[in-house]
Structures are given as structure tokens and as C-alpha cells.
């Protein structure tokens, strides 16, 4: 990961801005601040941050609108940071183009892990030939998936599903997006397919008795391929 990446915090609460700045600078980010939506949009355009932390409850406009405006011309990774914790709020933000969602109050370690995950995708690291997550290795070139060094046979649907989650490793992927990309645009409401194939996929790649599942369910939202922290430490 490039040193001194720039992070833009769009939040109307000065205390949150200040403390996020401290946290980010501890992680070698250069932190910028915007106190409302209008200024935030302008700052994204002019100061070209590498990642944006966006609050949804802004005084001048809804954070979702800010997100939609930014997405009209920029693909900068955006992490939504909000007190709104309902699945519907999260799905709305992800559908509007957010890369991930963290609810306030947040744990610093989780926040920073999510930031790294959404930046990784943009920096092209997952365009590499393989993704590792704990005991799981996915080799995109040869379509070979190994669990603990042993190759597992996946059907084409199972592989397609795993590939999307791996391309977004560490990030939540909405149910709608998975259904659309694997089964086509008409299948967005057919969640039953997704449930069945996730069931199969888990049987093949999860290690029984593992402390944490690799394929994490975000109820009412979607799924996330968890990249255990040990792997991450090894990468950086």
C-alpha cells in the first residue's frame, strides 16, 4: 500500500473529525476534513483523496445524496460511517455506491481494516492472479481453489460466487449484487438461489471448528469474505 495515502473525512461533528484525524495519522494517512456535504463534494473534486469517510447525517444535505453526486464522476473508495444501523440504511448506502459501511460507535481496528480493504481493490492488488484468505487460496488464472493446501472442486456457479466475494475480499457485497452478477439482472429477488449455493460453498471451503467463518453473513445485507488479520499483517 502506498505510503501517506490521503483520507477525507466528511462529518459535521468536530470531535469526530479531530479524533478520526488522530486515528488516521497514527496509521500514516494524511487526513483532510470537510464539515458539510457541499464542501465534501468540492474537496473530493479538488483535493483528490485516496479514500473518503462519509457520515450520512450531514446538516446541508443527506449523505446518500453526497455519495450519489460523487459517484457521478469519481470512483474514489467511500466508507460510510453512520449511526444509522438498520439493514435497509446499509443496503441503501451500498446501492448508492458506498464501498463499505461501518456503524458508529466503531472500533478503530475494524474501521482501519475496512479502510484497507476498500483501498486494496482500487490499488489493483486483487487484480493479481490470486487471493488468500486464511486457509483459502483462490487462483483466478487456473480457476483452482485450495483449502489448507488441498484442492476443492467447485461447480461453475459456486466458483462465480466465490470469485466475486474474493474480488471484494474484506468488503461486504450486497445480496442483490451477487444475484445480479451470478444469475443475471432478472434474478435480483431470487435470494433462495443464493442461500442454497452459499450453503454448498461453505460446506466445501469452511474448516469445521474454525474460530471464525471465512464467509461472513451480514444479515439483511449480503456476505463478506473475511480476510483474517494474520494474512493482512503478512501482506503489509
Amino acid at each position: 500500500m502506498s505510503e501517506n495515502a490521503t483520507a477525507l473525512v466528511i462529518d459535521d461533528e468536530p470531535q469526530i473529525r479531530k479524533l478520526l484525524q488522530v486515528l488516521l495519522e497514527q496509521e500514516n494517512y494524511r487526513a483532510l476534513e470537510s464539515e458539510n456535504g457541499r464542501q465534501g463534494i468540492a474537496d473530493v473534486a479538488q483535493r483528490r483523496p485516496d479514500v473518503v469517510l462519509l457520515d450520512l447525517g450531514l446538516p446541508d444535505m443527506d449523505g446518500l445524496v453526497v455519495l450519489e453526486r460523487i459517484r457521478q464522476w469519481s470512483q474514489v473508495p467511500v466508507l460510510v460511517l453512520s449511526v444509522r444501523d438498520g439493514p435497509a440504511d446499509k443496503v441503501a448506502a451500498l446501492d448508492a455506491g458506498a464501498d463499505d459501511y461501518v456503524t458508529k460507535p466503531f472500533e478503530a481496528t475494524e474501521l482501519l481494516a475496512r479502510l484497507r480493504a476498500i483501498q486494496r481493490r482500487v490499488h489493483g492488488e486483487v487484480e493479481a492472479a490470486r487471493v488468500e484468505a486464511g486457509h483459502l487460496v483462490i487462483d483466478f488464472a487456473s480457476h483452482i481453489v485450495t483449502v489448507g493446501g488441498r484442492e476443492v472442486k467447485l461447480t461453475s456457479t459456486e466458483y462465480a460466487l466465490l470469485k466475486i466475494l474474493a474480488l471484494h475480499a474484506g468488503k461486504v457485497v450486497t445480496q442483490k449484487q451477487l444475484l445480479r452478477e451470478v444469475w443475471g439482472p432478472n434474478a435480483e429477488e431470487q435470494s433462495q438461489y443464493l442461500r442454497v449455493y452459499m450453503m454448498h460453498l461453505r460446506k466445501k471451503i469452511e474448516l469445521p471448528g474454525a474460530a471464525q467463518r471465512l464467509l461472513k453473513t451480514e444479515s439483511g445485507i449480503g456476505y463478506r469474505l473475511v480476510v483474517p488479520t494474520s494474512t493482512e499483517a503478512g501482506q503489509s
Partner: protein
């Protein structure tokens, strides 16, 4: 009773009554014919006997404008005979001498009959037209006065007054009760009430959606007529009218009254719909307010909490590992997590109590829901042995995954707080008769039977509860499960511990059926 009534129906000659001519018209027809005959004797010398035929024709036409068809035809026939008898040679005999006069007589008779017929028909259609006009004027007035009235009561008052004035009767309205029977007492605007017997007839009209009582085919011996306020297949009440004893209403009037009743029904329905819309608007507004309030409270509580949490996290990182301040900071962090849980529980409880929970149903893999709940509570429940026993071939169920997951998590947290480290917490899931049954069982001490009924009450804490809980976890489980249409029960289990049972009615889908489709 029924068959008796139907024979009465047949015997009632109602159809012709409205068109029958009174005897007076027949007398008038003869009278005017005689009068003209007398006058013609004086005129004959002046104009000749043939011109008198034209005077008779004029009379028939004139009578046709005023009288019914029967008297006009009588006048035509009488004129022909009078002319023949009194004026055509041979006079004072019906015998006609000349061939020309015979032809004249024949033609006069034919023309007089035709004229009489045509003019009376013209009059009949004019009368019908006038009736139609009166009728539409009456209906228009009803819509104007009653339909557009500011409130229902004044609308119904206007409808009754209009009915009374138009038909010269007394009117009463009996509206439908919420239990779908007609009210016993008339609407306050009514000008009479019904005897027990008459009420029976009104109820018959209401139940059969047909007019009943006087002037109708059903129970015509009654004093009043009763017309259902019908809208579509529903009756919203009864319009009863009480005519004076010698009054007669024909089928046309009854039909008009029926239209009145239908219109009043429509006015009632309009009012019901309006009230429904208003009710929904009020509910909607209060729900929006609740949501806004919750969102703002949640924002106000969680924003400073986030700041504290972020500050502590930054400090922990800065002070480095080890040392007393590190321990202190971790204690603060634990306390913050607990505070956050309390706030979330309070907010959830408020959501439940203000009824703003709307489950979003979707297909769920129950095994996954339980695993997710396990992940979510791993920091607390991790020190217990978790046994998960899912029924073989457990189908997918349709429910709100996030709500169910939180319920299972809360039950797991509860089980952990009631039992010792290293004990077993067992979760089972199965589907029985279209109901998802999830059980969570611990190996703790259980609680006194007397406390069991209170365990789902908000802020209830068992006498032996450990410190740290909010007293809300189980109340939230109960609230969420109720919102999902199910129930949750608790019992002490043997040999020790407690068992919670969630029962949810669900749609199910077997995964293997789906695979064949996919």
C-alpha cells in the same frame, strides 16, 4: 311465509296503476262531445254539415293534449257517431245515404282515432320526459346537498329532508353497526322510529339487499317502505319511508327511492373511505415522528459515544503495550461497549413499543442465522461449549433474517449469563407443521417457577441474575418474535437449566427442489 308472499306478488296489479285514467276524464270526454254537438246545431246553417266534422276533429286533438288515451279514443268514437246521427243526411238516424258521405264518415272515424292516439302518445312521452327531468333534478339536488355536505351527519340530514319534501313522506335512516347488523335506533335526523315488527321488515330489506314493505313485492302489508342503502354487494344501512295512510307510490317512485337509497349508500361509503384515509394519515404521521425522534435520539447518544471510543482507541495505540494506563483504557473500552449495548437495547425496545418494526421477509438458511448469531456473540459465549443440532433436511424459511439473528443472539447471551464457564449451551432448529421451532437451552441453575411468567417483561431482572445485563434482552426477543407473527416460551429444563422455545409460522422451501430448477 316465503311462498305466501310470492303469490301476493303475482296478484298485485301494480304495473298498470300509474297509467290508468280516472273516471272523470271519460265523463269530460262525453261532456265536451255533447257540448260541441249542441253548438254545431247552431252553426250548421252557416257552415254546412261537412265542416262540422272538422270541429269534431279539433275537439279530439284538444282533448288528446289534456286527457289519457282511453277518454280521447272514447271522444273520437262518440264524435263520429254524433256527427253521423245528428248531421249527416239522413239526419237522426245512423243510416248514411250518399256514397260520398259514407266515405267522409269512414275517413273521419279513422282520422279521429289516429289523432286521438297520436296526441295522447305525444302527451305520454312528454309526461315521461317531465318525470325524468324531475328525477334527475332530485338526484342532482341530493348529490349537491347531501353528497357535498361538510360532514356526514349534515349530509344525511339533508338527504332525509330532501326525500321527505320530494315524496311527501316521513323518512328515517338506520345505519350499519360495526358488527354488520342494522342499527336498532334511527339516525338522529330521522323523523320517525320503527315498531318491533317494522324493524323486522327493515332488517329483511337489509339482509336480502331488496326493497321491502309497503308498495313493494315483499311484505306489502307493512306500514312503511324500506330500501337498503346498497353499494356494490354490501348494504350500509336502510332508508325507511312512512307515507300517509291514503298515499300511493307507484313503481317509478319506488325505483327513484331506490336510487336515492343507493346514493345515500355511496355518500356513506365515501365517508368511510375518507375516514380510513385520515386514520392512515394520522398513523403514518405519528410513525414518521417516532422514526425521526428515534433517529435523532440515536444520533445524539451515539455521536459522543463514538468520539469517546475513537479517543480511547487512539490512546491505546499511543501508550503502547503494557502498563497500568493500558489496563485502565481497556476497562474503559469494555464499559463503552456495554454502554453501547444498553443504548441499542433501549432504542430497540422503543421501536418495539412504538410499533415501528416492519419485518422484511426473505429466504433464510436457519443454520446460517444461528452461525451468524454465534459469531456475533463469540466474545461472551465463546467460553461455553456451543452445540448446534439442526434437523436433517431443514428447509429454507421465509422470515426477517436480521431480527431472527438478533433474537438468537440475545438468547445465547442470556444462556451464557445464566450458566457457568465450560457448560454446554445447546441450540436446535426444526420445522414442524409449517412452524419454525428454535430452542436454546443452557445448563445453568434455572429460575424459580414464580419468576418464569415475568421473564419477558422489560427491565425485569431475576432475583439471582448476574450483574451486567440490561433486563431488556429477553423483552426484545419477545417483541421481535411477536412482530414476526410468532411466540417465544420458556421453561426450566431437566436436569438443570432453562430452555427457550421460539415458534414462528413460516413459508418453507426445500433446497433440493430448487437445485432441480436451477
Amino acid at each position: 311465509m316465503q311462498s305466501e308472499m310470492s303469490t301476493e306478488n303475482v296478484s298485485l296489479p301494480q304495473k298498470s296503476r300509474g297509467d290508468a285514467a280516472p273516471v272523470a276524464e271519460y265523463i269530460a270526454a262525453i261532456y265536451f262531445t255533447a257540448l260541441l254537438t249542441g253548438a254545431s246545431f247552431a252553426l250548421e246553417a252557416l257552415i254546412g254539415y261537412r265542416a262540422i266534422a272538422l270541429l269534431y276533429l279539433l275537439l279530439v286533438v284538444a282533448l288528446g293534449i289534456r286527457l289519457h288515451r282511453g277518454p280521447v279514443l272514447l271522444a273520437a268514437a262518440a264524435s263520429a257517431l254524433a256527427w253521423d246521427f245528428c248531421f249527416i243526411p239522413i239526419r237522426f238516424s245512423l243510416h248514411i245515404a250518399g256514397i260520398g258521405d259514407l266515405m267522409m264518415f269512414g275517413m273521419f272515424f279513422a282520422v279521429a282515432m289516429a289523432m286521438g292516439h297520436l296526441t295522447s302518445q305525444l302527451r305520454a312521452s312528454e309526461l315521461a320526459e317531465r318525470r325524468r327531468q324531475r328525477r334527475s333534478a332530485a338526484l342532482y339536488e341530493l348529490v349537491q346537498q347531501a353528497g357535498l355536505a361538510p360532514d356526514l351527519d349534515s349530509g344525511l340530514r339533508a338527504a332525509i329532508t330532501l326525500t321527505e319534501n320530494l315524496f311527501g313522506v316521513r323518512g328515517a335512516l338506520f345505519l350499519r353497526h360495526p358488527d354488520l347488523t342494522p342499527a336498532k335506533h334511527p339516525h338522529p335526523a330521522s323523523s320517525f322510529s320503527l315498531s318491533e315488527k317494522e324493524y323486522g321488515v327493515a332488517a329483511w330489506a337489509f339482509n336480502h339487499r331488496m326493497p321491502a314493505g309497503k308498495f313493494t313485492d315483499n311484505r306489502p302489508e307493512s306500514e312503511a317502505a324500506h330500501l337498503p342503502l346498497q353499494v356494490g354487494s354490501e348494504a350500509l344501512g336502510v332508508l325507511s319511508i312512512l307515507p300517509s295512510a291514503d298515499m300511493i307510490l307507484g313503481p317509478a317512485e319506488i325505483e327513484l327511492l331506490q336510487t336515492f337509497a343507493m346514493l345515500i349508500g355511496t355518500i356513506l361509503e365515501k365517508d368511510h373511505l375518507l375516514q380510513g384515509v385520515k386514520q392512515a394519515e394520522i398513523l403514518n404521521a405519528s410513525e414518521r415522528l417516532q422514526r425521526a425522534l428515534l433517529q435523532s435520539v440515536s444520533h445524539e447518544l451515539k455521536t459522543p459515544l463514538s468520539a469517546v471510543q475513537a479517543g480511547i482507541d487512539a490512546l491505546i495505540k499511543e501508550t503502547g503495550k503494557g502498563g497500568r494506563s493500558q489496563t485502565t483504557l481497556h476497562e474503559i473500552q469494555q464499559a463503552l461497549r456495554r454502554l453501547n449495548r444498553v443504548i441499542n437495547n433501549l432504542l430497540d425496545m422503543t421501536r418495539i413499543e412504538s410499533g415501528v418494526i416492519h419485518p422484511k421477509l426473505d429466504w433464510c438458511d436457519v443454520g446460517d442465522v444461528i452461525e451468524a448469531a454465534k459469531d456475533l456473540t463469540a466474545d461472551v459465549v465463546g467460553s461455553r461449549k456451543l452445540e448446534i443440532a439442526l434437523d436433517r433436511g431443514l428447509p429454507m424459511v421465509r422470515t426477517d433474517q436480521a431480527l431472527l439473528e438478533q433474537c438468537v443472539s440475545n438468547l445465547l447471551l442470556n444462556a451464557a449469563s445464566n450458566s457457568g464457564i465450560g457448560t454446554v449451551v445447546k441450540i436446535t432448529a426444526r420445522v414442524v407443521n409449517g412452524q419454525l421451532v428454535v430452542t436454546v437451552r443452557d445448563e445453568g441453575k434455572g429460575i424459580a417457577e414464580s419468576e418464569l411468567p415475568h421473564i419477558f417483561e422489560a427491565f425485569y431482572r431475576g432475583t439471582e441474575a448476574r450483574p451486567g445485563g440490561t433486563g431488556l434482552g429477553l423483552a426484545i426477543v419477545e417483541g421481535f418474535i411477536r412482530a414476526l407473527g410468532g411466540s417465544v416460551t420458556v421453561a426450566n429444563s431437566r436436569p438443570t437449566g432453562m430452555e427457550f422455545v421460539i415458534t414462528l409460522p413460516v413459508e418453507t422451501l426445500r433446497p433440493d427442489v430448487l437445485e432441480k430448477l436451477a
